[in-house]
Symmetry: C2
Subunit: 327 residues, 2 copies
C-alpha cells in the first residue's frame, strides 16, 4: 500500500480510503490512486485491515450437513446476499453434533467474524457462553424458539409437522406411521416428531411407538424404514417422513415392491426437495423457505452491522402444505 501511495503521490491513508470509502476522496486523486493500484497489481491484505479496524467482513455459518441439498440452498441464499456486500462466508459442517458445533464455533471465533449463523436453537452451554462473549450478531435458523440467543429465522417445525399429519388424518388415513430423522441434538426433528404426536392426539388416533422410527437422512434409510414399519403393522395406510430424502426413499421402495402409492400406502414428506415435484407419483410435502432463510439471515446480520434498528427477534417465514399425488 505504501508503494501505491508513493506511485500516486499521496499518503497510505488516502489509498486506504480509495479502497474502503471512495466517496471521501477527490475524483482526480482517486483516479490517480486507482491507476497506481492497477499498474502495481496491488492486492490489499485483509488480515491487516481486519486487525486494524476489527471488522473482518466474514460471516461464519454452521450447518449440520452440506451434502443434503436442503441446506445447500440456504447457504446459497446467505452467499448471494453477503457477496453483494463484500462479505465472505466461512462454512462449517457440524454433522448434526453439538460437540462438533462447539468446536467449530471455537475456531471460527478466532477469525473474529462480524456475525455468525447457526442451525437450530440447541447448543452446548459453552457454545452459548462463547457466542454471548463475542458480542456479535448471531442468527439461529431453521426453527422457531421462544428465547432465541439473539435473532431467529425460520418456521415452526412443530406446526408444519402437525399440519401435515392432520392433513393426512383429514384425508381419511386411519393409521399414520412416522419416519423421522435422528432426534439426538436436533431440535428440528424433535419438533417435527412432537407435531406428529400432537396431531394424532387431536385426530383421536392412537399413538403407537412402534409406528415411529428415527433414522438418518438417507434414501436407503427411508427405504429400509418403510419395510420395517409395514412388517410391524401391515395396517399402516399412510406414512409421514419428516424429510424428503426419507420420503423419496420410501416412495422408491414402494415402487420397487409394487405397492401402489397412494392406494396401498400414502406418503408425505418434508422440505419440498427439487426432486419431489418430479418424481412419480409427485410427493405431497411441506414446502419450506430454504433459500429465503439464508437471504433473511444474511440481510439481518448486514442490517445490524449497518447500525439499523434491530428487527423483531423471531422471524417466522412460514411453511406451506403442498398436496400432490402421493397422498
Amino acid at each position: 500500500m505504501r508503494d501505491v501511495a508513493l506511485a500516486a503521490g499521496v499518503s497510505a491513508i488516502t489509498v486506504s480510503r480509495v479502497i474502503t470509502s471512495p466517496d471521501r476522496v477527490a475524483p482526480d486523486t482517486r483516479k490517480r490512486v486507482e491507476r497506481a493500484i492497477r499498474s502495481l497489481r496491488y492486492v490489499p491484505n485483509l488480515a491487516a485491515g481486519t486487525l486494524a479496524s476489527s471488522r473482518s467482513r466474514i460471516v461464519a455459518v454452521i450447518v449440520p450437513n452440506m451434502s443434503n441439498s436442503v441446506f445447500a440452498e440456504t447457504l446459497q441464499g446467505l452467499s448471494d446476499i453477503l457477496r453483494k456486500a463484500d462479505y465472505h462466508l466461512l462454512i462449517g459442517n457440524s454433522g448434526y453434533s453439538l460437540g462438533e458445533e462447539q468446536s467449530l464455533v471455537t475456531t471460527f471465533l478466532a477469525r473474529r467474524p462480524d456475525g455468525i449463523v447457526l442451525t437450530g436453537y440447541t447448543h452446548t452451554q459453552r457454545t452459548v457462553q462463547m457466542l454471548r462473549a463475542a458480542r456479535i450478531p448471531v442468527v439461529e435458523m431453521w426453527n422457531l424458539s421462544e428465547r432465541p440467543l439473539d435473532t431467529m429465522v425460520g418456521f415452526s417445525n412443530f406446526e408444519a409437522a402437525r399440519a401435515m399429519t392432520r392433513h393426512l388424518g383429514d384425508k381419511g388415513y386411519r393409521r399414520i406411521g412416522y419416519i423421522g430423522g435422528l432426534t439426538h441434538d436436533n431440535d428440528r426433528t424433535l419438533q417435527r416428531e412432537a407435531g406428529y404426536r400432537e396431531a394424532l392426539r387431536e385426530l383421536g388416533h392412537r399413538l403407537a411407538p412402534r409406528l415411529m422410527l428415527a433414522v438418518p437422512f438417507e434414501y436407503e434409510a427411508g427405504a429400509d424404514a418403510i419395510v420395517e414399519l409395514l412388517r410391524r403393522d401391515p395396517s399402516v395406510d399412510a406414512v409421514f417422513a419428516a424429510g424428503d430424502v426419507l420420503a423419496v426413499g420410501v416412495l422408491l421402495e414402494c415402487i420397487r415392491r409394487g405397492w401402489p402409492v397412494p392406494r396401498r400406502l400414502a406418503v408425505a414428506g418434508f422440505d419440498d426437495a427439487r426432486i419431489s415435484s418430479r418424481i412419480v407419483p409427485p410427493l405431497t410435502t411441506v414446502a419450506v423457505p430454504r433459500y429465503e432463510i439464508g437471504c433473511t439471515a444474511a440481510q439481518n446480520i448486514l442490517d445490524r452491522l449497518g447500525g439499523l434498528p434491530a428487527r423483531p427477534r423471531v422471524l417466522d417465514l412460514g411453511f406451506r402444505i403442498v398436496e400432490r399425488g402421493s397422498t
Copy 2:
C-alpha cells in the same frame, strides 16, 4: 495474549508457542499457560497471527454450484481433511461463470489463503495471472489437462463419456442421443460432449447434431430435453445424459409418459448421484470419485505447505462405468 502471559508469569511469545507449537514448551509451563487461557477465556486473534506469520490457515475453493450435491461431496472431502489440520475453508460459487470466478479469486486473494482450489482448467487470463502472482499452491479439479496451472486432481471427462457411449453402442443401441450441460465456460461438459462424439465415430454411428442438446443441470431440463429429442427423431433408442440430474429427469419423464426404460429408451447418466442407484429402474451411470477429489486436493495442498516434495502434477483418480437396469 499479554494478559494471559501476565497471568501465567511468562512472556507473550511463550503463550503463542503453547498455542501453535506446544511441543516447544516445557510441560509444566504449558500447563500454567493453558490454565490461564481457560480462566481468562482467551480467544486468539487469527487475523493478527496471519499478519505476523503470513500464513492464514485458509484454503479458498471455488465450485460452479453448490445446490447440486455433486460438488457438495467434494467440498465435504476438502473440509474433512482441512479441518483436521486446523485449516478453514472459504467457499465461493461461480455459477458456471469465468467472470464470476475471476471476481471471486480477486477478493479471496485479499485474504491471503495458503492454497486455492478451482473447478476445471478453463479460467480467464487475468485469473491465471493473479494465481501465478500469488505464489501459493493451486489445485484444479474435476478434469484432466495437459498443462495444469499447478496441480490437477480429477478424471478424464472425455474418456468417461467416450466409455459410456461405447458401452451403449456395444450393447446394441443404434441411435444414441446426447443431453449435456451447457458448455459455455465449462471444460467438463465440453470434454464429455467430445467423448460422446469420438465414441460415435468409433462405433460407426452417424453424428447428428439434432440428437444433441445442451441444457442446465436441472431435473426439469432433462425431462424437457428428452421430449424434444424424441420429437426430433422418434428412432432414438438410447440417451446419454452427461449428468445424473439430467438423467433422472429423463427417467422420470419416461415413467410419467409410460415409455418403458430401457425397452423403449435406454438412459445412461454421469456422476452416480445418491439417488441413481435407488431409482426404479436404477440408473446406469459413470461413477466418479467426488469425495476423493476433495480429499486429494486438500491433502495435496497440505503436503506442499508442509514442504513435502511436490507430487505428480496431474492426479488421475479414474472413473467407473456402473451398469444398472436403465440400459
